[in-house]
Protein backbone atom coordinates (compact mmCIF):
# COMPACT_ATOMS: atom_id res chain seq x y z
CA UNK A 1 0.00 0.00 0.00
CA UNK A 2 2.81 2.38 0.73
CA UNK A 3 5.14 2.91 -2.18
CA UNK A 4 8.57 4.12 -1.35
CA UNK A 5 10.76 5.85 -3.86
CA UNK A 6 13.00 2.80 -3.82
CA UNK A 7 10.67 0.68 -5.91
CA UNK A 8 10.82 0.74 -9.68
CA UNK A 9 7.38 2.25 -10.07
CA UNK A 10 8.32 4.88 -7.51
CA UNK A 11 11.28 5.80 -9.71
CA UNK A 12 9.03 6.16 -12.71
CA UNK A 13 6.84 8.58 -10.80
CA UNK A 14 9.76 10.69 -9.65
CA UNK A 15 11.18 10.67 -13.13
CA UNK A 16 7.91 11.92 -14.48
CA UNK A 17 7.79 14.72 -11.94
CA UNK A 18 11.30 15.74 -12.90
CA UNK A 19 10.35 15.86 -16.57
CA UNK A 20 7.32 17.92 -15.74
CA UNK A 21 9.46 20.38 -13.84
CA UNK A 22 11.68 21.11 -16.81
CA UNK A 23 9.02 20.75 -19.48
CA UNK A 24 8.62 24.43 -20.36
CA UNK A 25 12.32 24.66 -21.17
CA UNK A 26 12.15 21.51 -23.24
CA UNK A 27 9.23 22.87 -25.20
CA UNK A 28 10.95 26.17 -25.77
CA UNK A 29 14.05 24.38 -26.94
CA UNK A 30 12.07 22.32 -29.44
CA UNK A 31 9.97 25.33 -30.41
CA UNK A 32 6.61 23.83 -29.52
CA UNK A 33 4.77 26.40 -27.39
CA UNK A 34 1.50 24.68 -28.15
CA UNK A 35 2.66 21.71 -26.10
CA UNK A 36 3.11 23.96 -23.09
CA UNK A 37 -0.54 24.95 -23.36
CA UNK A 38 -1.57 21.34 -23.61
CA UNK A 39 0.52 20.34 -20.63
CA UNK A 40 -0.72 23.25 -18.54
CA UNK A 41 -4.29 22.24 -19.15
CA UNK A 42 -3.36 18.62 -18.53
CA UNK A 43 -1.91 19.40 -15.12
CA UNK A 44 -4.92 21.47 -14.11
CA UNK A 45 -7.26 18.64 -15.02
CA UNK A 46 -4.81 16.33 -13.32
CA UNK A 47 -5.23 18.21 -10.05
CA UNK A 48 -9.00 17.96 -10.44
CA UNK A 49 -8.67 14.23 -11.07
CA UNK A 50 -6.44 13.86 -7.99
CA UNK A 51 -9.12 15.56 -5.91
CA UNK A 52 -11.78 13.24 -7.31
CA UNK A 53 -9.61 10.22 -6.57
CA UNK A 54 -9.54 11.26 -2.94
CA UNK A 55 -13.26 10.64 -2.56
CA UNK A 56 -13.71 8.07 -5.31
CA UNK A 57 -10.59 5.95 -5.28
CA UNK A 58 -9.78 6.09 -1.59
CA UNK A 59 -13.24 6.76 -0.22
CA UNK A 60 -15.48 4.85 -2.60
CA UNK A 61 -17.81 7.81 -3.13
CA UNK A 62 -18.68 7.81 -6.80
CA UNK A 63 -19.41 11.43 -7.56
CA UNK A 64 -20.67 12.20 -11.03
CA UNK A 65 -20.75 15.91 -10.32
CA UNK A 66 -17.24 16.81 -9.29
CA UNK A 67 -16.61 19.06 -12.25
CA UNK A 68 -18.98 21.62 -10.72
CA UNK A 69 -16.16 22.70 -8.40
CA UNK A 70 -13.84 23.25 -11.32
CA UNK A 71 -16.42 25.54 -12.82
CA UNK A 72 -17.17 27.35 -9.59
CA UNK A 73 -13.47 28.00 -9.11
CA UNK A 74 -13.18 29.36 -12.63
CA UNK A 75 -16.18 31.64 -12.21
CA UNK A 76 -14.67 32.88 -8.95
CA UNK A 77 -12.02 34.40 -11.18
CA UNK A 78 -14.36 35.40 -13.98
CA UNK A 79 -17.12 37.14 -12.11
CA UNK A 80 -14.90 39.40 -9.99
CA UNK A 81 -12.91 40.16 -13.16
CA UNK A 82 -16.15 41.21 -14.80
CA UNK A 83 -16.40 43.82 -12.08
CA UNK A 84 -12.73 44.74 -12.55
CA UNK A 85 -11.65 42.98 -9.39
CA UNK A 86 -8.42 41.28 -10.25
CA UNK A 87 -6.96 40.56 -6.85
CA UNK A 88 -5.77 36.98 -6.74
CA UNK A 89 -6.35 36.71 -3.01
CA UNK A 90 -9.99 37.58 -3.50
CA UNK A 91 -10.29 35.04 -6.27
CA UNK A 92 -8.68 32.37 -4.15
CA UNK A 93 -10.65 33.00 -1.00
CA UNK A 94 -13.90 33.29 -2.91
CA UNK A 95 -13.22 29.96 -4.57
CA UNK A 96 -12.34 28.24 -1.32
CA UNK A 97 -15.38 29.58 0.51
CA UNK A 98 -17.96 28.93 -2.22
CA UNK A 99 -16.67 25.46 -3.00
CA UNK A 100 -16.54 24.54 0.67
CA UNK A 101 -20.07 25.82 1.25
CA UNK A 102 -21.54 24.15 -1.81
CA UNK A 103 -19.78 20.91 -0.91
CA UNK A 104 -20.94 21.12 2.68
CA UNK A 105 -24.58 21.62 1.77
CA UNK A 106 -24.80 19.21 -1.14
CA UNK A 107 -22.54 16.69 0.56
CA UNK A 108 -24.63 16.74 3.71
CA UNK A 109 -27.65 15.70 1.67
CA UNK A 110 -25.90 13.37 -0.78
CA UNK A 111 -23.93 11.40 1.77
CA UNK A 112 -27.10 10.29 3.48
CA UNK A 113 -27.67 8.19 0.40
CA UNK A 114 -25.57 5.47 -1.09
CA UNK A 115 -25.01 3.42 -4.20
CA UNK A 116 -27.03 4.45 -7.19
CA UNK A 117 -28.79 7.23 -5.29
CA UNK A 118 -25.49 8.88 -4.45
CA UNK A 119 -24.25 8.81 -8.02
CA UNK A 120 -27.47 10.30 -9.32
CA UNK A 121 -27.80 12.97 -6.71
CA UNK A 122 -24.26 14.23 -7.24
CA UNK A 123 -24.95 14.41 -10.94
CA UNK A 124 -28.15 16.31 -10.35
CA UNK A 125 -26.49 18.88 -8.07
CA UNK A 126 -23.81 19.60 -10.62
CA UNK A 127 -26.46 20.00 -13.33
CA UNK A 128 -28.12 22.51 -11.06
CA UNK A 129 -24.96 24.63 -10.96
CA UNK A 130 -24.56 24.20 -14.69
CA UNK A 131 -28.05 25.49 -15.39
CA UNK A 132 -27.72 28.33 -12.92
CA UNK A 133 -24.65 29.65 -14.71
CA UNK A 134 -26.26 28.94 -18.05
CA UNK A 135 -29.18 31.15 -17.15
CA UNK A 136 -27.16 34.08 -15.81
CA UNK A 137 -27.30 36.25 -18.90
CA UNK A 138 -25.29 38.91 -17.15
CA UNK A 139 -22.18 36.74 -17.03
CA UNK A 140 -22.34 35.51 -20.57
CA UNK A 141 -24.43 32.37 -20.09
CA UNK A 142 -24.02 30.20 -23.15
CA UNK A 143 -21.57 32.55 -24.81
CA UNK A 144 -19.25 32.45 -21.87
CA UNK A 145 -17.32 35.03 -19.98
CA UNK A 146 -14.12 36.53 -21.26
CA UNK A 147 -11.53 37.93 -18.91
CA UNK A 148 -8.73 40.17 -20.03
CA UNK A 149 -6.16 39.86 -17.31
CA UNK A 150 -5.13 37.16 -14.92
CA UNK A 151 -5.36 37.12 -11.18
CA UNK A 152 -3.09 39.65 -9.61
CA UNK A 153 -0.99 38.82 -6.63
CA UNK A 154 1.65 40.91 -4.86
CA UNK A 155 4.79 41.63 -6.86
CA UNK A 156 6.59 38.35 -6.48
CA UNK A 157 3.74 36.19 -7.83
CA UNK A 158 3.15 36.69 -11.50
CA UNK A 159 0.65 34.75 -13.52
CA UNK A 160 0.73 36.63 -16.77
CA UNK A 161 3.13 34.64 -18.89
CA UNK A 162 2.58 31.07 -20.01
CA UNK A 163 5.82 30.05 -18.33
CA UNK A 164 5.01 31.49 -14.93
CA UNK A 165 1.45 30.21 -14.98
CA UNK A 166 2.75 26.76 -15.74
CA UNK A 167 5.00 26.79 -12.70
CA UNK A 168 2.17 27.90 -10.46
CA UNK A 169 0.12 25.02 -11.79
CA UNK A 170 3.04 22.68 -11.25
CA UNK A 171 3.43 24.05 -7.73
CA UNK A 172 -0.20 23.34 -6.87
CA UNK A 173 0.23 19.87 -8.34
CA UNK A 174 3.17 19.09 -6.07
CA UNK A 175 1.35 20.51 -3.06
CA UNK A 176 -1.73 18.44 -3.86
CA UNK A 177 0.25 15.25 -4.32
CA UNK A 178 2.07 15.78 -1.07
CA UNK A 179 -1.07 16.70 0.84
CA UNK A 180 -3.02 13.68 -0.41
CA UNK A 181 -0.04 11.45 0.28
CA UNK A 182 -0.01 12.51 3.94
CA UNK A 183 -3.79 12.55 4.23
CA UNK A 184 -4.43 8.97 3.18
CA UNK A 185 -1.78 7.68 5.56
CA UNK A 186 -3.09 9.64 8.50
CA UNK A 187 -5.73 8.52 10.97
CA UNK A 188 -8.31 10.42 8.98
CA UNK A 189 -7.25 8.65 5.83
CA UNK A 190 -7.56 5.22 7.42
CA UNK A 191 -11.13 5.97 8.41
CA UNK A 192 -11.98 7.07 4.87
CA UNK A 193 -10.39 3.99 3.34
CA UNK A 194 -12.01 1.70 5.88
CA UNK A 195 -15.42 3.21 5.20
CA UNK A 196 -15.02 2.41 1.55
CA UNK A 197 -14.45 -1.27 2.27
CA UNK A 198 -17.03 -1.76 4.96
CA UNK A 199 -19.00 1.20 6.25
CA UNK A 200 -21.02 -0.88 8.69
CA UNK A 201 -17.91 -2.31 10.24
CA UNK A 202 -16.37 1.11 10.70
CA UNK A 203 -19.46 2.35 12.47
CA UNK A 204 -19.43 -0.63 14.76
CA UNK A 205 -15.85 0.26 15.65
CA UNK A 206 -17.09 3.61 16.87
CA UNK A 207 -16.44 5.84 13.85
CA UNK A 208 -19.15 8.27 12.81
CA UNK A 209 -18.40 7.68 9.16
CA UNK A 210 -20.85 10.29 7.88
CA UNK A 211 -18.88 13.12 9.45
CA UNK A 212 -15.54 11.88 8.17
CA UNK A 213 -16.79 11.36 4.64
CA UNK A 214 -18.41 14.78 4.55
CA UNK A 215 -15.13 16.34 5.65
CA UNK A 216 -13.28 14.42 2.96
CA UNK A 217 -15.83 15.53 0.40
CA UNK A 218 -15.36 19.19 1.32
CA UNK A 219 -11.57 18.90 1.22
CA UNK A 220 -11.75 17.31 -2.20
CA UNK A 221 -14.09 20.05 -3.44
CA UNK A 222 -11.78 22.83 -2.27
CA UNK A 223 -8.78 21.29 -4.03
CA UNK A 224 -10.83 21.03 -7.21
CA UNK A 225 -11.92 24.63 -6.77
CA UNK A 226 -8.29 25.74 -6.57
CA UNK A 227 -7.67 23.92 -9.84
CA UNK A 228 -10.64 25.83 -11.18
CA UNK A 229 -9.05 29.15 -10.25
CA UNK A 230 -6.01 28.16 -12.29
CA UNK A 231 -8.27 27.04 -15.11
CA UNK A 232 -9.99 30.39 -15.13
CA UNK A 233 -6.64 32.07 -15.40
CA UNK A 234 -5.44 29.69 -18.06
CA UNK A 235 -8.35 29.80 -20.48
CA UNK A 236 -9.49 33.41 -20.00
CA UNK A 237 -12.76 32.22 -21.48
CA UNK A 238 -15.11 30.73 -18.93
CA UNK A 239 -18.30 28.99 -19.94
CA UNK A 240 -20.77 26.70 -18.22
CA UNK A 241 -19.90 24.00 -20.72
CA UNK A 242 -16.89 23.04 -18.60
CA UNK A 243 -19.36 21.99 -15.89
CA UNK A 244 -21.72 19.71 -17.78
CA UNK A 245 -22.13 16.25 -16.31
CA UNK A 246 -20.46 14.61 -19.26
CA UNK A 247 -17.25 16.34 -18.16
CA UNK A 248 -17.60 14.63 -14.81
CA UNK A 249 -17.83 11.37 -16.67
CA UNK A 250 -14.54 12.17 -18.39
CA UNK A 251 -12.99 12.95 -15.02
CA UNK A 252 -14.11 9.60 -13.63
CA UNK A 253 -12.62 7.95 -16.69
CA UNK A 254 -9.28 9.60 -15.99
CA UNK A 255 -9.28 8.34 -12.41
CA UNK A 256 -10.16 4.81 -13.50
CA UNK A 257 -7.69 4.60 -16.33
CA UNK A 258 -4.96 5.85 -14.06
CA UNK A 259 -5.85 3.37 -11.34
CA UNK A 260 -8.08 4.22 -8.42
CA UNK A 261 -6.69 4.43 -4.96
CA UNK A 262 -3.20 5.19 -6.17
CA UNK A 263 -1.48 8.49 -5.67
CA UNK A 264 -0.15 9.28 -9.13
CA UNK A 265 -2.70 7.32 -11.09
CA UNK A 266 -5.17 10.15 -11.74
CA UNK A 267 -2.36 12.34 -13.04
CA UNK A 268 -1.46 9.66 -15.58
CA UNK A 269 -5.10 9.32 -16.38
CA UNK A 270 -5.61 13.01 -17.03
CA UNK A 271 -2.51 13.32 -19.20
CA UNK A 272 -3.41 10.16 -21.12
CA UNK A 273 -6.92 11.37 -21.69
CA UNK A 274 -5.85 14.75 -23.04
CA UNK A 275 -3.15 13.18 -25.14
CA UNK A 276 -5.66 10.71 -26.52
CA UNK A 277 -8.13 13.50 -27.21
CA UNK A 278 -5.53 15.46 -29.18
CA UNK A 279 -4.18 12.45 -31.03
CA UNK A 280 -7.53 10.96 -31.94
CA UNK A 281 -8.97 14.26 -33.13
CA UNK A 282 -6.09 14.54 -35.58
CA UNK A 283 -7.19 11.24 -37.08
CA UNK A 284 -10.87 11.90 -37.39
CA UNK A 285 -13.52 14.34 -36.31
CA UNK A 286 -15.43 11.34 -35.09
CA UNK A 287 -12.88 10.64 -32.40
CA UNK A 288 -15.68 10.37 -29.84
CA UNK A 289 -16.65 7.13 -31.49
CA UNK A 290 -13.21 5.64 -30.95
CA UNK A 291 -12.98 7.05 -27.48
CA UNK A 292 -16.37 5.69 -26.48
CA UNK A 293 -15.49 2.31 -27.91
CA UNK A 294 -12.21 2.30 -26.02
CA UNK A 295 -14.02 3.15 -22.83
CA UNK A 296 -16.45 0.28 -23.27
CA UNK A 297 -13.68 -2.13 -24.13
CA UNK A 298 -11.63 -0.98 -21.18
CA UNK A 299 -14.37 -1.71 -18.71
CA UNK A 300 -15.40 -4.99 -20.27
CA UNK A 301 -11.88 -6.34 -20.66
CA UNK A 302 -9.33 -4.31 -18.75
CA UNK A 303 -8.77 -3.98 -15.02
CA UNK A 304 -6.74 -1.85 -12.67
CA UNK A 305 -5.52 0.83 -14.98
CA UNK A 306 -2.11 2.22 -15.70
CA UNK A 307 -1.02 2.10 -12.09
CA UNK A 308 -1.66 -1.63 -11.83
CA UNK A 309 0.30 -2.12 -15.00
CA UNK A 310 3.17 -0.12 -13.56
CA UNK A 311 3.04 -2.11 -10.33
CA UNK A 312 3.88 -5.15 -12.37
CA UNK A 313 7.27 -3.56 -12.90
CA UNK A 314 7.86 -4.08 -9.19
CA UNK A 315 7.35 -7.82 -9.40
Amino acid sequence: MVKSSGTRSGKVYLGMLFLLSIAPFLFQWTNQPFLLDLLSRGLIIGIAALSLNLILGYGGMISLGHVAYLGIGAYCVGIPAYYDIYSGWIHLSLAVVTCALFALITGAVSLRTKGVYFIMITMAFSQMIYFIFLSLEEYGADDGLVIYARSEFPVWINMEGAFSLYYWIFGLLILTLFFIHRLVRSRFGRVIIGSKYNDLRMQSLGFNTYGYRLTCYVISAVICGLAGVLLGNFTSFISPEMMSWTRSGELIFMVIIGGTGSLFGPLFGALSFLFLEEALSLITIYWHLIFGGLLIALVLFGRGGIDAWLSKLDK
Binding site: M1, V2, R182, L183, R185, S186, R187, F188, G189, R190, V191, G194, Y197, N198, L200, R201, M202, Q203, S204, L205, G206, F207, N208, T209, Y212, T215
Partner: protein
Protein backbone atom coordinates in the same frame (compact mmCIF):
# COMPACT_ATOMS: atom_id res chain seq x y z
CA UNK B 1 -37.38 -9.22 37.17
CA UNK B 2 -35.85 -8.74 40.62
CA UNK B 3 -34.65 -5.25 41.37
CA UNK B 4 -31.13 -6.18 42.50
CA UNK B 5 -30.68 -8.25 39.34
CA UNK B 6 -31.42 -5.20 37.30
CA UNK B 7 -28.93 -3.08 39.20
CA UNK B 8 -26.27 -5.69 38.56
CA UNK B 9 -26.93 -6.00 34.89
CA UNK B 10 -24.79 -4.41 32.21
CA UNK B 11 -27.43 -4.95 29.55
CA UNK B 12 -31.14 -4.91 30.21
CA UNK B 13 -33.54 -5.63 27.38
CA UNK B 14 -37.18 -4.90 28.01
CA UNK B 15 -40.06 -6.16 25.81
CA UNK B 16 -38.23 -5.79 22.55
CA UNK B 17 -40.37 -6.26 19.43
CA UNK B 18 -39.44 -6.26 15.76
CA UNK B 19 -41.52 -7.43 12.82
CA UNK B 20 -40.64 -7.73 9.14
CA UNK B 21 -43.82 -7.74 7.12
CA UNK B 22 -45.94 -10.28 8.93
CA UNK B 23 -43.09 -12.10 10.60
CA UNK B 24 -42.28 -11.43 14.24
CA UNK B 25 -38.52 -11.72 14.30
CA UNK B 26 -38.36 -10.44 17.88
CA UNK B 27 -41.45 -11.17 19.94
CA UNK B 28 -41.53 -9.39 23.29
CA UNK B 29 -38.01 -10.32 24.30
CA UNK B 30 -36.82 -9.43 27.76
CA UNK B 31 -33.37 -10.33 28.95
CA UNK B 32 -30.87 -9.29 31.53
CA UNK B 33 -27.12 -9.82 31.21
CA UNK B 34 -25.26 -9.68 34.49
CA UNK B 35 -21.89 -8.06 34.91
CA UNK B 36 -18.99 -10.40 34.28
CA UNK B 37 -19.31 -13.83 32.76
CA UNK B 38 -20.69 -15.24 29.58
CA UNK B 39 -24.34 -15.22 28.64
CA UNK B 40 -25.16 -17.34 25.61
CA UNK B 41 -28.24 -17.19 23.40
CA UNK B 42 -29.08 -20.39 21.60
CA UNK B 43 -31.89 -21.55 19.40
CA UNK B 44 -32.69 -23.05 16.01
CA UNK B 45 -32.05 -21.24 12.75
CA UNK B 46 -34.49 -18.45 12.14
CA UNK B 47 -35.15 -17.99 15.83
CA UNK B 48 -34.22 -14.35 15.57
CA UNK B 49 -30.85 -14.41 17.28
CA UNK B 50 -28.98 -12.35 14.72
CA UNK B 51 -31.86 -9.88 14.52
CA UNK B 52 -31.54 -9.48 18.24
CA UNK B 53 -27.83 -8.73 18.01
CA UNK B 54 -28.52 -6.29 15.19
CA UNK B 55 -30.96 -4.40 17.38
CA UNK B 56 -28.59 -4.39 20.33
CA UNK B 57 -25.72 -3.02 18.28
CA UNK B 58 -27.91 -0.39 16.64
CA UNK B 59 -28.00 -1.72 13.11
CA UNK B 60 -31.78 -2.21 13.19
CA UNK B 61 -34.39 -0.14 15.01
CA UNK B 62 -36.83 -2.11 17.12
CA UNK B 63 -40.54 -1.45 16.72
CA UNK B 64 -41.04 -1.19 20.47
CA UNK B 65 -39.33 -1.88 23.76
CA UNK B 66 -36.19 -0.55 25.36
CA UNK B 67 -32.53 -1.39 25.69
CA UNK B 68 -30.57 -0.24 28.70
CA UNK B 69 -26.82 -0.39 28.68
CA UNK B 70 -24.86 0.38 31.83
CA UNK B 71 -27.94 1.95 33.37
CA UNK B 72 -28.87 4.20 30.44
CA UNK B 73 -31.23 3.70 27.52
CA UNK B 74 -29.37 3.38 24.24
CA UNK B 75 -32.46 3.05 22.08
CA UNK B 76 -31.87 6.34 20.29
CA UNK B 77 -28.13 5.92 19.97
CA UNK B 78 -26.57 5.06 16.61
CA UNK B 79 -24.11 2.26 15.99
CA UNK B 80 -21.02 4.38 16.40
CA UNK B 81 -22.34 5.91 19.61
CA UNK B 82 -23.07 2.53 21.17
CA UNK B 83 -19.63 1.33 20.21
CA UNK B 84 -18.00 4.28 21.89
CA UNK B 85 -20.22 3.77 24.94
CA UNK B 86 -18.56 0.41 25.40
CA UNK B 87 -20.71 -2.08 23.49
CA UNK B 88 -18.48 -3.94 21.03
CA UNK B 89 -19.77 -6.28 18.38
CA UNK B 90 -18.32 -9.02 16.22
CA UNK B 91 -20.08 -10.18 13.08
CA UNK B 92 -21.39 -13.57 12.05
CA UNK B 93 -20.13 -13.10 8.53
CA UNK B 94 -16.52 -12.16 8.91
CA UNK B 95 -16.22 -8.41 8.48
CA UNK B 96 -12.56 -7.73 8.82
CA UNK B 97 -10.72 -5.67 6.22
CA UNK B 98 -9.34 -8.20 3.81
CA UNK B 99 -6.94 -5.94 1.93
CA UNK B 100 -5.16 -4.82 5.09
CA UNK B 101 -2.78 -6.69 7.35
CA UNK B 102 -3.81 -8.18 10.68
CA UNK B 103 -1.95 -5.44 12.50
CA UNK B 104 -3.58 -2.70 10.42
CA UNK B 105 -6.99 -4.12 11.25
CA UNK B 106 -6.25 -4.16 14.95
CA UNK B 107 -4.74 -0.68 14.87
CA UNK B 108 -7.90 0.61 13.22
CA UNK B 109 -9.96 -0.82 16.06
CA UNK B 110 -7.70 0.76 18.66
CA UNK B 111 -7.87 4.04 16.77
CA UNK B 112 -11.65 3.96 17.01
CA UNK B 113 -11.47 3.72 20.76
CA UNK B 114 -9.06 6.63 21.07
CA UNK B 115 -11.33 9.61 20.57
CA UNK B 116 -11.75 11.35 17.25
CA UNK B 117 -9.67 10.66 14.16
CA UNK B 118 -9.64 14.12 12.65
CA UNK B 119 -5.88 14.00 12.43
CA UNK B 120 -4.68 14.67 8.90
CA UNK B 121 -0.94 14.69 9.06
CA UNK B 122 0.88 12.03 11.09
CA UNK B 123 1.16 8.68 9.32
CA UNK B 124 -0.54 5.85 11.17
CA UNK B 125 2.03 3.22 10.32
CA UNK B 126 4.67 5.19 12.20
CA UNK B 127 2.55 5.40 15.35
CA UNK B 128 4.39 3.01 17.64
CA UNK B 129 2.02 3.46 20.58
CA UNK B 130 -0.95 2.52 18.48
CA UNK B 131 0.88 -0.51 17.16
CA UNK B 132 1.90 -1.63 20.65
CA UNK B 133 -1.64 -1.48 22.00
CA UNK B 134 -2.89 -3.34 18.94
CA UNK B 135 -0.25 -6.02 19.44
CA UNK B 136 -1.39 -6.54 23.03
CA UNK B 137 -4.86 -7.36 21.86
CA UNK B 138 -3.56 -9.57 19.10
CA UNK B 139 -1.59 -11.43 21.73
CA UNK B 140 -4.76 -12.14 23.69
CA UNK B 141 -6.12 -14.07 20.73
CA UNK B 142 -2.75 -15.50 19.73
CA UNK B 143 -2.36 -13.67 16.43
CA UNK B 144 0.63 -11.49 17.31
CA UNK B 145 3.13 -13.62 15.43
CA UNK B 146 1.11 -13.26 12.22
CA UNK B 147 0.57 -9.53 12.48
CA UNK B 148 2.14 -8.71 9.12
CA UNK B 149 -0.01 -11.08 7.08
CA UNK B 150 -2.68 -9.73 4.75
CA UNK B 151 -6.06 -10.87 6.00
CA UNK B 152 -7.13 -12.38 2.70
CA UNK B 153 -4.27 -14.86 3.04
CA UNK B 154 -5.02 -16.16 6.54
CA UNK B 155 -7.33 -18.98 7.50
CA UNK B 156 -11.00 -18.58 8.32
CA UNK B 157 -10.40 -19.44 11.95
CA UNK B 158 -7.73 -16.77 12.24
CA UNK B 159 -10.09 -14.22 10.71
CA UNK B 160 -12.67 -15.07 13.38
CA UNK B 161 -9.97 -14.61 16.01
CA UNK B 162 -9.17 -11.23 14.51
CA UNK B 163 -12.85 -10.30 14.83
CA UNK B 164 -12.63 -10.97 18.55
CA UNK B 165 -9.35 -9.08 18.85
CA UNK B 166 -10.86 -6.05 17.18
CA UNK B 167 -13.84 -6.16 19.50
CA UNK B 168 -11.45 -6.31 22.46
CA UNK B 169 -9.38 -3.44 21.09
CA UNK B 170 -12.37 -1.19 21.57
CA UNK B 171 -11.88 -1.47 25.35
CA UNK B 172 -15.53 -2.42 25.70
CA UNK B 173 -17.61 -2.87 28.79
CA UNK B 174 -19.43 -5.67 27.03
CA UNK B 175 -18.93 -7.83 23.96
CA UNK B 176 -21.69 -8.91 21.59
CA UNK B 177 -20.42 -11.94 19.72
CA UNK B 178 -22.44 -13.25 16.80
CA UNK B 179 -21.50 -16.92 16.27
CA UNK B 180 -17.78 -16.54 16.97
CA UNK B 181 -17.31 -20.24 16.21
CA UNK B 182 -19.03 -20.07 12.81
CA UNK B 183 -17.43 -22.24 10.16
CA UNK B 184 -14.58 -23.40 12.36
CA UNK B 185 -13.02 -26.85 12.54
CA UNK B 186 -12.36 -28.78 15.74
CA UNK B 187 -8.94 -27.35 16.54
CA UNK B 188 -9.87 -23.79 15.77
CA UNK B 189 -12.99 -24.12 17.90
CA UNK B 190 -10.92 -25.41 20.79
CA UNK B 191 -8.58 -22.44 20.56
CA UNK B 192 -11.48 -20.00 20.38
CA UNK B 193 -13.05 -21.55 23.46
CA UNK B 194 -9.78 -20.97 25.33
CA UNK B 195 -9.64 -17.36 24.16
CA UNK B 196 -13.25 -16.64 25.06
CA UNK B 197 -12.86 -18.33 28.40
CA UNK B 198 -10.01 -16.04 29.38
CA UNK B 199 -11.76 -12.96 27.98
CA UNK B 200 -14.95 -13.90 29.78
CA UNK B 201 -13.10 -13.92 33.08
CA UNK B 202 -12.63 -10.15 32.79
CA UNK B 203 -15.35 -8.88 30.50
CA UNK B 204 -19.08 -9.40 30.08
CA UNK B 205 -20.00 -11.35 26.98
CA UNK B 206 -23.34 -11.90 25.27
CA UNK B 207 -22.85 -14.59 22.71
CA UNK B 208 -25.05 -16.12 20.03
CA UNK B 209 -23.83 -19.56 19.12
CA UNK B 210 -24.83 -22.86 17.54
CA UNK B 211 -21.96 -25.00 18.69
CA UNK B 212 -23.48 -26.71 21.75
CA UNK B 213 -20.25 -28.10 23.18
CA UNK B 214 -18.74 -24.63 23.16
CA UNK B 215 -21.85 -23.14 24.71
CA UNK B 216 -22.06 -25.69 27.49
CA UNK B 217 -18.41 -25.28 28.42
CA UNK B 218 -18.30 -21.50 28.26
CA UNK B 219 -21.64 -20.14 29.34
CA UNK B 220 -22.68 -19.10 32.82
CA UNK B 221 -26.18 -18.24 31.75
CA UNK B 222 -28.19 -19.53 28.79
CA UNK B 223 -31.17 -18.05 27.01
CA UNK B 224 -33.10 -20.13 24.52
CA UNK B 225 -34.83 -18.40 21.63
CA UNK B 226 -37.46 -20.01 19.46
CA UNK B 227 -39.51 -18.17 16.85
CA UNK B 228 -38.51 -14.78 18.15
CA UNK B 229 -39.33 -15.47 21.78
CA UNK B 230 -37.10 -16.28 24.71
CA UNK B 231 -38.58 -19.42 26.17
CA UNK B 232 -36.14 -19.84 29.02
CA UNK B 233 -33.21 -18.11 30.71
CA UNK B 234 -31.22 -20.01 33.33
CA UNK B 235 -27.96 -21.67 34.23
CA UNK B 236 -26.58 -24.31 31.88
CA UNK B 237 -27.58 -27.30 34.01
CA UNK B 238 -31.13 -26.12 34.51
CA UNK B 239 -31.59 -25.36 30.80
CA UNK B 240 -30.37 -28.79 29.81
CA UNK B 241 -32.94 -30.44 32.02
CA UNK B 242 -35.75 -28.07 31.04
CA UNK B 243 -38.42 -30.16 29.27
CA UNK B 244 -39.74 -27.36 27.11
CA UNK B 245 -36.25 -26.55 25.86
CA UNK B 246 -35.58 -30.20 25.17
CA UNK B 247 -38.75 -30.44 23.18
CA UNK B 248 -38.25 -27.40 21.02
CA UNK B 249 -34.52 -27.34 20.57
CA UNK B 250 -32.19 -29.81 22.21
CA UNK B 251 -34.09 -32.98 21.47
CA UNK B 252 -34.81 -35.62 24.12
CA UNK B 253 -31.42 -37.33 23.88
CA UNK B 254 -29.56 -34.42 25.46
CA UNK B 255 -31.28 -34.86 28.81
CA UNK B 256 -28.29 -36.75 30.12
CA UNK B 257 -25.31 -34.79 31.45
Amino acid sequence: MKQNMRADSVLFIRSLCKSFGGIKATDDVSLSVCRGGIHAVIGPNGAGKTTLIAQLSGQIRPDSGDIEFDGRSILRAGMAQRARAGLARSFQITSVFREMTILENAMLAVQGAQGHSYRFWAPVHQDQDLADIAMDHLMTVGLHHRSGRIVSSISHGEQRQLEVAMALAMQPKMLLLDEPMAGMGKEETFRMIEILSSVGAEKTILMVEHDMDAVFSLADQLSVMVNGRVIATDSVAKIRSNPEVQKSYLGGSCAKD
